[in-house]
Symmetry: D2
Subunit: 224 residues, 4 copies
């Protein structure tokens, strides 16, 4: 899996702080953006994140290039609707040479791994045969597995990202999307350390857990 | 494939007409909803649809139960973000007995069909073996095909539906989602005939085509 | 102020429960909608609300007719973006006979009230003069006050409503929109009592407060 | 009125072109972003805009600082829901020194102008008196006019902007928001000339007009 932050709003923390300041100030945004000191920006960002004045976080936008993930992951990912996606198309791009994601629990079991890999070989052979018989890519793809590797560009603003991290960095989240969320978080922390300093699952950020009986127990341990 | 309209805003056309009328009237919405005659509703709906005063269409909401569709379809479907979805989970529901969608172009070719069906048998066997080896459903599903049958509940408002139909009833749309769009359109036409009378691809509704060189030629023929 | 729930998804709790059930069930949505007992629906709704499986709440939609509110209120209201609005237009509807909202703190002070009312008379006279001089309604409205009465149709789904109530039923919310939120909550509780049983500000629903130093102190008192 | 583009996605056209290319390419996004020549970017952007492959346009985001506009304008503006806003608050910022927007049709008529200005003086006096009597800013603001100057930060992506321009650069749009839309368009054309080369009302961009009987006649003239 490879996650790269390829574009983002320049000075994301200044953009957010200036927008927040505008709400409470007689001075205009442009002037605020220029005149706020780095320390003022830092202090305001902390306050915004703590108090959840989250609408101002939307002015900072982040674009990621993601590769080496499965369609299991992307089918979950694109359910996050406050975001923008461009995904490699199985309708137009040949999957003759497809790679695939092997779940760690399968990889850890030699028999399971062998079965899984043999099936992937069978799928590849069938895909090629279908195409050879004149079936278009858009229909041949019906035989491809959920595990098939895909590539996707994802843009989210900082508010949507904090929500995404709260859900997908949770130990209860599915392992593959959690891994991606953690890589994304590591990337945005380089670009906007204060904005994302406290990002993560709700047990860490807000001291509560919504998972009911399915809780991982982390919150319990933290309380001790 | 089975598409059923299971819930919708009562009197969807009256709801829309009343909202549109409110914008231009000194009288309140509740009073308008009660007092508008059926003919006034009809005339206003026609005007709204023709002039594209589309925000008022959002007050009418429609919920569909969809079964017998593939994950190829749902991965496309959930890219429509102004909508609500609840989908059968491969993480929690066993796919031991999965059914699958056979693309018509594969079904039409005896050799292709045989290969495809043999592969589905192999996938089923592998899935069961993985589960038998202690792999959880959430990881065993990586071996399942795009063709695997799924079930989904979809809610869209009338404005989002008109946009959905304009894109997905187009002959250039992928065949499976087009079939679903056509069934959805047939359903909503029973509940709100005037709202959806002119729904469909842009060639039919608005006399233009955005498909460039890939056009199906329908618009050309219509112009003759 | 008048708030009426004029339309909503029929059987809103059944619609939500069925959608939630579908995610974890091999059976289809239509069948679930028919076969779930009232008690099953009730139990599932409680679980959904407690565990925050909130996406399923989006399948239930509610439409309100609101009258006797100010443009102070609607300018705040329409900032809630996961919602649909149709508002009486000052561009097209004459404000010759406008009514206005008198804030309670102004009404409670005889001098303030007199000044305020005198100003409203002056505004009315000026509006009429401008129109008399040939200024179009769309420009004459620039002289109208924030207090001017307006009417609006609002549609939100149950998830958006719960979020709206958590923010706007808070004692820190502006008094007018809080009053409207409370009336809306009373209305939806009649239509879907379980869905909205625990709706309200976050101190009541979830035991936390985001208002920082500005807290009203309710949470503190509740903890004693 | 002052409109400044204060932040935007770096290389907005490259960001969009790379995302579009990814959909049809076996190569990953990061590599595409690096390797596409300027000419490839240009050619692809033209194709995207012409064919309406608009989802890729969402990866480019633009943030504006807007000052010297009325609350008539912002109440319309914030109805565009696929956008982010931070607005100067009348609840927290004193309006003792408020400025106001004088509509040109009022300014053009000496009598109307005098009446309008006298009213603004009266409003200012009343606002100050209310505050002097102990009425909080959040209630005193009820007496302020729609014309009162406000400041707002607006973030929209390129797709939302094209939609915004199609509606608000139309001669039928209200004059103040049209002026703002035109200034925004001039700004983004500097940052992304190809993306916005053809932006504007639908008569110009797509050769149709939805205004019915209310059309300005521009399309008719263009056809001659």
């Amino acid at each position: 899996m490879r996650v790269a932050l390829i574009y983002h709003t320049p000075e994301p923390e200044r953009a957010v702080a200036m927008s927040a300041r505008l709400c409470y100030s007689p001075v205009g945004a442009e002037q605020l953006a220029e005149k706020m000191s780095d320390e003022q920006v830092r202090n305001l960002i902390k306050k915004i994140v703590d108090m959840g004045h989250s609408s101002t976080l939307e002015h900072a936008s982040f674009t990621f290039a993601v590769e080496g993930v499965s369609r299991v992951l992307t089918h979950q990912l694109v359910r996050h609707r406050i975001a923008s996606y461009s995904q490699q198309s199985q309708r137009y791009v040949s999957e003759h040479d497809f790679e695939y994601i092997l779940p760690p629990t399968v990889a850890a079991n030699a028999v399971a791994k062998e079965k899984f890999e043999a099936l992937m070989d069978n799928i590849r052979a069938t895909y090629d045969e279908l195409v050879g018989l004149g079936v278009h890519k858009e229909d041949a793809r019906y035989c491809l597995a959920n595990a098939t590797e895909t590539k996707i560009v994802v843009t989210m603003n900082a508010r949507a990202l904090l929500n995404f991290f709260s859900l997908r960095c949770c130990t209860r989240a599915q392992w593959e999307i959690r891994k991606m969320a953690e890589l994304m978080l590591a990337e945005v922390r380089k670009a906007a350390p204060l904005l994302f300093e406290k990002a993560g699952p709700t047990c860490v950020t807000s001291g509560y857990c919504n998972e009911g009986e399915l809780t991982c127990g982390r919150l319990e341990k933290m309380k001790k």
